[in-house]
């Protein structure tokens, strides 16, 4: 493959010598190049989960409502009366770092295929994104490209992108994170499995032609760190074709409706190799493939290239011979190629033919289930500490109003409208809440019920303490759902980490999975599936460990939900929860003092659960008029955001404390700001019984004024805060300089 080196072929394909020996043992001989290429993909970290499988097995995946947990293309959650929600999240980090527009576009394409592969109609996408600082031109280019790519693909598909999040932190500078979650709706009886069953049944390849694009994407891009040779890996870039995918979606759902399919599987990472062997594995069967039948886009493609190409917009379908014509007809109606490329066998092997010639013969089990797993000796990185920072480490800035304005313009807090306005977030007309709030809520046509969705990730906190960080992320996702009145039901997750072969990274991964498990158990939100993205490192420097959580919740009545906007002047402003804010790991620490250090506060999962239960009850009983989670930027930013959303100011009086700045801008999981009508206050306080809830002020006026005892801490016109918050991202994208850390601290 690569000339001028004497490294063995397996090594160039990313396999270890021991893995090669293992493959030989399973085959009883040395693999030929086609087989080796297929094994190298299937045993890549991306497809084989070599470093994650043992730990993922620990996650709670059961529950009454779980129709399908990890293992299929998407998890499926029962929502009653015969309907279910399919959900899954996936990363497209490395492709996006190379070509942001196409990387993000094909990222959407891939996750959407996973959703309709299980027979569900996609109803929403969410896109958690992480970039480096916008002060750098390259990061602006990445952000613009990724957002445009998500928009181009999702908008064309007619799937609303209704949520997500964006963080900017230096740690992602050479390795942006582009995760996309897709959610679909499916009737119980329509659920499709990715299995190939029934000897003699046909294997159809449907959709785009196969080219050299994306050759080795999984092994080369997703399973290795970035380095100087990243530039040379460019030929692997794939270009998305959302129109073809739209036709593919409609054709597949039509075949589902007409019961033409035995099994359906998307072609993603690993191309034909992976999807064929997985279908055989799930069906307990074997498959004979004839690659000479695969419609090609390019001349002179080698057999191994056809087997590992990651060309987009393709699906593999298993059907009976009786349905062959019907399948072809449906595909012809949608102007799609549909070619029989193989047959189901009973021998448990993936056999690859080029016409008559047998060019590969491997046991399916060896490919799919028997990739070696590795357990690395974890090593706690030196920056992790068990101690909170001493309170006097940072002096209190003299002007807290200026701090608020600075935080409100921080790229991590300011309005994301510039982003979500580029997404068609309304198509399908189900949005009971539009983007910009705590969570998206989709009504379900013909029902009272609604589905609430959110994604959350916080690499900075996970960096300081991966276990606490992961617990906090799950709790925050649940809190976001509770804030709109939805009951958290299940999660999907995308685990973005560095190189797991390193002890420090493995430690982060292990701790984060443990934290996620604890929180999911405590909050009753099982894991329906997910994705692991390792090797997010460049030049030896890893990203912050970042488990991104996508959570689904339900509301019984889509018209009885709440957003975070202050509603009327004169309402009581209340603080729910009793967590103790800290500087450690906060946006305040980063933006104002330019540091990420210390120990983040832990979430008390039992109190959290009680608090969220109360929150939902308050919303359902219509006692709470708005609810907003205290997160990035602390209490002050939370108040400011609700004030801006409602166009109403507030007067807040807090207890006197030694460090009001920490009270205002510090962060701790477990706090929510509520508003309630004066008349309902008593009932609300009574309902709270035992859950900490106290009034801290009143809405009204055109200013945000905060006092502690006799001291005025903040007193700013709402219009000024709003202006700062609303225009910041656009200005930064235009290159008007991102704010620098440290300038306020030194004032």
């Amino acid at each position: 493959m690569e000339l001028g080196t004497d490294r063995p072929a397996y090594e160039l394909l990313g396999l270890k010598a021991s893995e090669y020996d293992d493959i030989c043992a399973r085959l009883g001989r040395e693999p030929n190049y086609v087989e080796l290429a297929i094994f190298s993909l299937m045993w890549s970290e991306h497809c084989g989960y070599k470093h994650s499988r043992p730990l993922l097995g620990d996650l709670p995946t059961g529950g009454d409502c779980i129709l399908q947990g990890p293992g299929e293309n998407a998890g499926i959650v029962d929502i009653g009366e015969g309907l279910a929600i399919a959900m899954k999240i996936e990363s497209h980090n490395h492709p996006s770092a190379i070509e942001p527009f196409q990387g993000a576009a094909t990222g959407i394409g891939g996750i959407v295929r996973d959703i309709f592969a299980v027979g569900a109609r996609p109803i929403a996408c969410l896109d958690p994104l992480h970039f480096g600082s916008l002060a750098k031109a390259r990061q602006r280019f990445l952000l613009e490209g990724v957002v445009a790519g998500v928009a181009a693909y999702g908008n064309c598909m007619g799937i609303p992108t209704i949520g997500g999040e964006i963080h900017f932190e230096d740690s992602y500078e050479d390795n942006c994170l582009v995760n996309v979650m897709c959610v679909g709706l499916v009737k119980h009886g329509d659920i499709l499995k990715a299995s190939a069953r029934g000897e003699g049944n046909l294997i159809f390849l449907i959709g785009s032609t196969t080219g050299r694009d994306g050759i080795g994407g999984a092994s080369v891009l997703a399973s290795a760190e970035f380095d100087e040779t990243a530039e040379e890996k460019r030929p692997t870039v794939q270009v998305g074709d959302p129109f073809t995918e739209k036709k593919l979606l409609e054709a597949c759902l039509e075949m589902r409706d007409r019961r033409l399919l035995v099994g359906l599987q998307d072609l993603g990472a690993g191309g034909l190799s992976s999807s064929a062997s997985e279908m055989a594995s799930k069906g307990g069967s074997g498959i004979d493939l004839d690659i000479s039948r695969v419609p090609l886009r390019e001349e002179g493609m080698e057999p191994f290239e056809i087997m590992i190409s990651e060309s987009q917009e393709r699906m593999l379908a298993c059907t009976t011979t009786q349905n062959e014509v019907a399948v072809k007809n449906v595909c012809a109606k949608w102007d799609l190629d549909a070619t029989v490329v193989g047959r189901v066998t009973g021998n448990g092997r993936l056999r690859v033919f080029n016409g008559e010639e047998l060019i590969g013969d491997m046991p399916v089990a060896a490919l799919v289930d028997e990739a070696p797993t590795y357990i690395v000796k974890p090593a706690r990185p030196g920056h992790e500490t068990d101690k909170l920072l001493p309170p006097d480490r940072y002096p209190q800035p003299p002007d807290l109003g200026a701090v608020l304005l600075k935080l409100m313009t921080s790229p991590n807090i300011c309005s994301r409208r510039w982003v979500w306005q580029q997404y068609d977030h309304m198509v399908q007309t189900n949005n009971a809440l539009w983007p910009g709030g705590e969570a998206a809520v989709l009504r379900l046509k013909g029902r009272r019920q609604g589905v609430a969705l959110t994604t959350d990730g916080n690499g900075r906190r996970c960096y300081l303490d991966p276990r606490r960080g992961a617990r906090a992320v799950v709790a925050e996702a649940a809190r976001n759902l509770s804030c709109v009145g939805a009951r958290p039901v299940a999660i999907t997750n995308c685990l973005n980490f560095g190189n797991p072969e390193k002890g420090g990274i493995y430690h982060q991964f292990r701790e984060a999975v443990a934290g996620m498990k604890e929180a999911c158990q405590a909050l009753g939100t099982p894991v329906t599936g997910g994705n692991v993205s390792f090797y997010n490192e460049s030049f030896g420097k890893a990203i912050y460990p970042n488990p991104v959580i996508g959570m689904m919740g339900l509301v019984e009545d889509a018209s009885r939900i709440r957003d975070h906007a202050f509603k009327d002047a004169g309402d009581a402003v209340l603080l729910l929860g009793a967590a103790e804010p800290a500087v450690d790991g906060s946006e305040y620490q980063l933006s104002v003092f330019g540091e990420v250090a210390g120990r983040i506060p832990d979430v008390d999962l039992e109190s959290e659960k009680k608090m969220q239960l109360l929150l939902r009850e308050a919303i359902i009983k219509e006692l709470a008029k708005s609810a907003h989670d205290v997160s990035d930027g602390g209490l002050a930013c939370c108040l400011a955001e609700s004030a801006i959303a409602g166009g109403i100011g507030a007067v807040i009086s807090l207890d006197e404390v030694s460090r009001p700045d920490i009270l205002l801008f510090g962060e701790a999981p477990g706090l929510v700001v509520l508003t309630a009508a004066e008349a309902d206050l008593e009932r609300l306080l009574k309902l709270a019984a035992g859950v900490p809830l106290k009034q801290i002020g009143r809405t009204g006026g055109g200013r945000l004024a905060v006092t502690a005892g006799a001291n005025s801490l903040i007193d700013l016109p709402l219009a000024q805060i709003k202006q700062a918050w609303e225009t910041s991202l656009e200005a930064m994208v235009a290159g008007n300089g991102a704010p620098r850390a440290g300038d306020l601290a030194n004032r």
Binding site: N155, C156, K246, H425, M426, T429, N431, A432, K445
Partner: protein, 244 residues
């Protein structure tokens, strides 16, 4: 919801054209079926039969991917020949977003679309001023009424040459314009840079209407408002008036 008996409303028949890349077809179908009670059925882009229909909707989306130019390929689909005949015979045709683009490419409405001035897809609520209420699609609105309807497009920057614009103005063919909250067709209120803040135009006869905003998306207060219902109500009233 209309001050008309359901039995009458039911006699009004809408057809919603489905191109392979349409994605607002179901939303339009729902808007008609659920919120007015009129009959709605889907039409495949290869159909050539529009008999018995009162109004054809060309919905939003990306008809054929629209990579070359929105609507450029769709206008050659078999159904567009039928739509041309249907319109010539006085049938009502409304093109929403991509449907508008297709009507322009097909020459059923004058003008052309450029990329949005900001070169970005824009999805948001806009204010529209209803300029012409003496046509079948807007009769339920007040002259000059300001309505809030979302746009969602990449190519809605309407263009027509000077002579064409003068003609549109003279013949009152500009049906809706982007405006600010107080009704001024201000530059800042224009989401895409369209000439004269034009959001929608009709043909001379007034039976073919194209607009970039999506009335079908705001027919239910639960999901953003009900200002779009007026379009569908207007059509029904006009059809029933002609029938009686």
């Amino acid at each position: 919801m209309l001050a008309l008996p359901q039995t009458e409303i039911k006699t009004v028949r809408f057809g919603v054209v489905v191109f392979p890349g349409s994605n607002c077809d179901a939303d339009s179908h729902d808007a008609v079926g659920t919120f007015t009670g009129a009959e709605a059925r889907y039409l495949w882009h290869k159909d050539t039969q529009l008999d018995g229909l009162d109004c054809v909707i060309l919905p939003g989306g990306f008809s054929y991917g629209d990579y070359l130019r929105p609507g450029a390929i769709a206008r050659f689909s078999p159904i567009m020949k039928a739509v041309g005949r249907f319109a010539a015979a006085g049938g009502l045709v409304i093109g929403i977003c991509n449907g508008f683009q297709i009507l322009l490419e097909a020459g059923l409405l004058p003008g052309a679309m450029h990329r949005n001035q900001g070169l970005k897809f824009v999805c948001r609520l806009v204010n529209l001023r209803v300029e012409n209420t003496s046509m079948p699609f807007t009769g339920k609105y007040e002259q000059g009424q300001i309505i809030r309807i979302p746009v969602a497009h990449m190519e809605g920057n309407y263009f027509i040459n000077e002579a064409g614009l003068a003609e549109l103005e003279d013949r009152n063919q500009i049906v809706v314009r982007y405006c600010n909250e107080s009704g001024n067709a201000a530059k800042e209120a224009n989401p895409n840079g369209s000439l004269g803040n034009i959001a929608g135009v009709c043909n001379r006869e007034g039976n073919v209407f194209g607009l970039m905003p999506h009335p079908e998306r705001v027919c239910d207060p639960l999901v953003g408002g009900a200002d779009g219902r007026g379009v569908f109500k207007s059509i029904i009233i006009s059809v029933l008036k002609n029938k009686s």
